[in-house]
Amino acid sequence: MQEKNISTCNLENCQKCSICDTVCPMMAVNPEYPGPKQAGPDGERYRMKSAEFYDKALKYCLNCKRCEVACPSGVHVADMIAAAKLEHGGQTRPLRDTVLASTDLVGSVASTFAPMANFALGLSPVRHLMDGFIGVDERRTFPSYANGTFVKSFDPSTQKGFDRFVTYFHGCYANYNFPQLAWDTVKVVNACGYGVHLMKGEKCCGVAMVANNMPAQAAKNARRNVGCMSRAVAAGEPVLTSSSSCTFMMREEYPNLLGVDNSAVRDSLMLMTKWLYELVEAGKVKLVFKPDFKMKASYHIACHMQKLGWQYYSVGLLRMVPGLDLKVLEQNCCGISGTFGFKKENYELSMRIGSKLFDSIRKSNPQYVITDCETCKWQIEHGTGLEVLNPVSVLATALDLEATFKANTQ
């Protein structure tokens, strides 16, 4: 008698309850997508017989993991679909997809010529050309590029005075587009009495490469990143991140999807908000807030954040801020799914998926929206016109950094 499951994704556990289908944001708006039950465990039984049963409609899967979050039987539905896409989805892709997924390359070039790049990307004729020739929807506003990367502007000598350190995995967004987030992170970490080290040779986490069927390149980046992180962890430093998707990618998808062993670093790799929350709860770090800080905000749980379950920590920290009127929104997918929503053929779907979230945001009537994912930020700003902040940036503004530093270094 077979005593245990032999599949890697717990295919045998599927009870066909269909709860996964009820939470799939793509299935709700797109009749061409068969849904997670069929794309996942149902389809897998056929794909195991022959690759010719691979359904091209799996290209619509957003990799949001909401099906896995909902599954009562422990089936790794989303992993199964992602693995099938990598195996059967084909290695050819339009140049556009390669470019969108190569964030390190595009980021380095664009941030070198940032003023020109931003100016060009802001012009409708340019976006119209991009729409017609390479298929990036002209309705999208491109995130602007910073004039020079965060890494270039970071002076390690400013961190010399500390005797305890963390390593910061800044990721592509904070490095090329929005160094302000990286600086907010450094400020808050320093105020807690810790110095910040960067890693030499940090590469893009690869989440966009996986989504655009570039597993070899993603695995290469993965091995490189794990190597860098191993050195940090061996030196006794946790590796802190800013983006929920980078974190999820490196902790879960590296071993589960790319076969890259991260066991040496996984437990020490976490979002900055988790690290900070646990220290404050344990009484090891004190936070001193500005008494006159006031903000009304709605918190959006990014899909990958929900899969990790770590909104518990970000919300926990935000709840410590006096004067912050915070509403935690019911979890809904924003619809952008990273590079997916930039593509011309996906724009309408992406906005239709996000409309439920946009409505709930408008209904909650906030000044700001807070979320841990930068691509959610772009989508929510695009769909609601509201400014979206990372929780760490809110903390950096709400904290009395000097008083906090004094409280943690005496």
Partner: protein, 184 residues
């Protein structure tokens, strides 16, 4: 963060308890997978939703529980805990070849000792396994090793004698207990 009540399981009974205690002003967290097969919506106003997760370990002190830890590594501390994990589908009860157990608290389960009597081959006949479940005292406290846990309650299908054929679960006893304890 310290809660008044942590409800484990987001089906009809769990959501009913979370809704009632939250309305009464208690700080409540609800741990569940996703939307349950009962159709109940776990998004309850004022309740912290720990979604896509399950409580896997309990920490005890004296006759009670101080915290439960989830599969995602979140440790939830509370004054009171409510077990509402259902029967076999969501693994509120787990059947081995010759016994039935409740995996989180390893509490006392009422089940038919003779395995051949667990089910009737006639599909339409009453099925004994549908009445298996954990044992509670008159106030709804979960029994473990014959004694009630001081701050753990059980409601819904996980409880012995509660059958899925019944559309509503009696949760008022436990709800009243939770609200009254807070007022003291």
């Amino acid at each position: 963060m310290m809660y008044d009540v942590v409800v484990i399981g987001g089906g009809a009974a769990g959501v009913q308890v979370a809704t009632a205690v939250s309305k009464a002003g208690l700080k409540c967290a609800l741990v569940c997978f996703g939307r349950s097969i009962s159709g109940a919506d776990p998004n309850v106003q004022g309740v912290d939703l720990i979604l896509g997760d399950k409580a896997v370990e309990a920490r005890y002190e004296g006759t009670g529980v101080v915290s439960v830890t989830t599969a995602n590594g979140i440790r939830l501390q509370a004054a009171d805990f409510v077990l509402a994990t259902g029967k076999f589908f969501g693994e509120g009860l787990v059947a081995d070849m010759d016994s039935v157990r409740e995996p989180l608290f390893d509490s006392d389960v009422k089940y038919e000792q003779d395995r051949s009597k667990w089910f009737d081959a006639d599909f339409m006949a009453p099925q004994a396994f549908l009445e298996f479940g954990v044992q509670t005292d008159a106030k709804g406290h979960l029994l473990k090793g014959g004694s009630p846990l001081s701050n753990v309650y059980a409601v819904g299908l996980v409880v012995a004698g509660v059958n899925a054929a019944v559309p509503e679960y009696e949760c008022d006893t436990v709800i009243n207990e939770l609200i009254c304890r807070k007022r003291i």
